[in-house]
Amino acid sequence: MTKLNVEQIRKDFPILKRQVEGKQLVYLDNAATSQKPKVVIDALTEYYEGYNANIHRGIHTLAEEATDAYESVRETVRAFIDAEHTHEIIFTSGTTEAINLVANSWGNANILPGDEIVLTAMEHHSNLIPWQRLATERSAKLVFIPITEDGQLDMAEAKKLITDKTKIVAVTQMSNVFGTINPVKELAQLAHARGAVILVDGAQGVPHVKTSVRDLDVDFLAFSMHKMLGPTGVGILYGKTELLNAMPPFQSGGHMITTVSREKASWAELPWKFEAGTRNIADVIASGKAIEYLSALGMENVREHEIEITKYALEKLSELGDITIFGPKDATLRGGVIAFNVDAIHAHDIGQICADAAIAVRAGHHCCQPLMRDLNVMGTARASFYIYNTKEEVDLLFEALKEADKVLGHVAVR
């Protein structure tokens, strides 16, 4: 057994008691969004029942309390990802907004015609489409690092593709399809050696792998709190001070200015320059509790648990003769995300049969249509694990897949 006391952890998540049509919920859709422990849910109630107020500039007591609570989460996040400065932490509405912010603000200031933007073949739409639009607007070129047979980045190709023309490398820390954990530190070195910057999409990585922006030496890191025990509606953008300082604001409105006349405005200091309008105060405060919860468990222990359950699942599911599992075979090279297909059964049908067994898995293209095309599949089913998942749940998944294979399998592909 690993160092996580999973039985104890499960008690902290009220939703895990949920029954679906009489059956105990088995939640294996964590790559889409994680469940939330009671401390996080309670933080919302405490805020709204105790000290809800708009932050910054308020002099009254509630406003002081709310401002304090909100701003202190910045420090919690800074410590969690080992950033140098608190002002390098920007609260956004999600990974997607964080990446849009960089593509828009940094991109428009730095990308010129002919420049190259290096992505990988396994990017989520959120780390692809903003760059497509930037490239189109500024006549830049997208370059894709290809992937190997077992879903890893082809680093030999990466070395060739990252050149003096490269202005930015934008890469996912962990694939939401393969589970592959990419060599971000090495990519950062390659980028920096060519004078390029690197943005890391940490939506899947940060919740599962201990992440130090200083050790990895990345310039931007984007991630979403809802995938790591936090509420919906909060994302984080980390950026290095010099880069953030040189960037114009993305959105504009209240609280991101110092002085405003009718014709022009000057921008506030970091981090407020990038936080226009009333923020998602309650959810940021609750996000702090999510990070504290994860830190108390220890990210090394989280990782160890996930390796163990992933290893078990890879072995168990392989017992189904008809299954295709994507991504690295070795659980230590990947996070707890397993995309698979059973026989020629449509992923939706697998999802549905699992749902009938109260097992939540995802089915579809996982916001990775280009990758699906490369893999020559219309979609896959996907099971993804987190701190509260057990081997018994993997066994239940296995049973449901056997059932699917029995009912729907062995069809001549039409």
Binding site: H346, H348, D349, G364
Partner: protein
């Protein structure tokens, strides 16, 4: 009631495992592609309409069980029908699938389609069931526009 007993019950599984009118028509009077961009399901519908009558219908589908079964049932029911009759049946089926108040009843001759009613519990999949039918509507429209080619 679980899908294993309900959604995938016998009729659907039968049509899924043995889809009727599967294949292509070499010189169809109409040929239409249907796509459900959300899940990637694709389908090609071939029609042979002569003298206002569906003389032949064939389908090749790349989709889930609902989609395949729904297309198979449709082909069986519409084969031999007049364009007006076909339109009426498509219309009735679509209303059954989209109506929230469960007020649409099917005549006996369409009772196979009852098997698809269970899909309504799963809004994401209603589109899968409708894809062949919407493609058919387009095919019938094309046919009408050029009735003699």
């Amino acid at each position: 009631m679980s899908l294993s007993d309900d959604l995938y019950r016998e009729t659907i599984l039968d049509h899924y495992h043995h889809p009727r009118n599967h294949g292509a028509i070499e010189h169809p009077t109409a040929q239409v592609e249907g796509v459900n961009p959300l899940c990637g399901d694709e389908l090609t519908l071939y029609l042979n309409v002569k003298d206002n009558k569906i003389e032949d219908v064939k389908l090749t589908a790349k989709g889930c069980s609902i989609n395949t079964a729904s297309g198979s049932m449709m082909s069986e029911l519409l084969l031999g029908k007049s364009i007006e009759e076909a339109n009426e049946i498509v219309d009735l089926f679509k209303r059954m699938m989209l109506d929230k108040n469960e007020e649409v009843e099917l005549p006996d001759e369409l009772e196979d389609l009852e098997a698809l009613r269970g899909v309504k519990k799963y809004p994401v999949r209603i589109k899968c069931a409708l894809l062949p039918w919407n493609t058919m509507l387009e095919g019938l429209g094309n046919t009408l526009k050029s009735p003699t080619t």
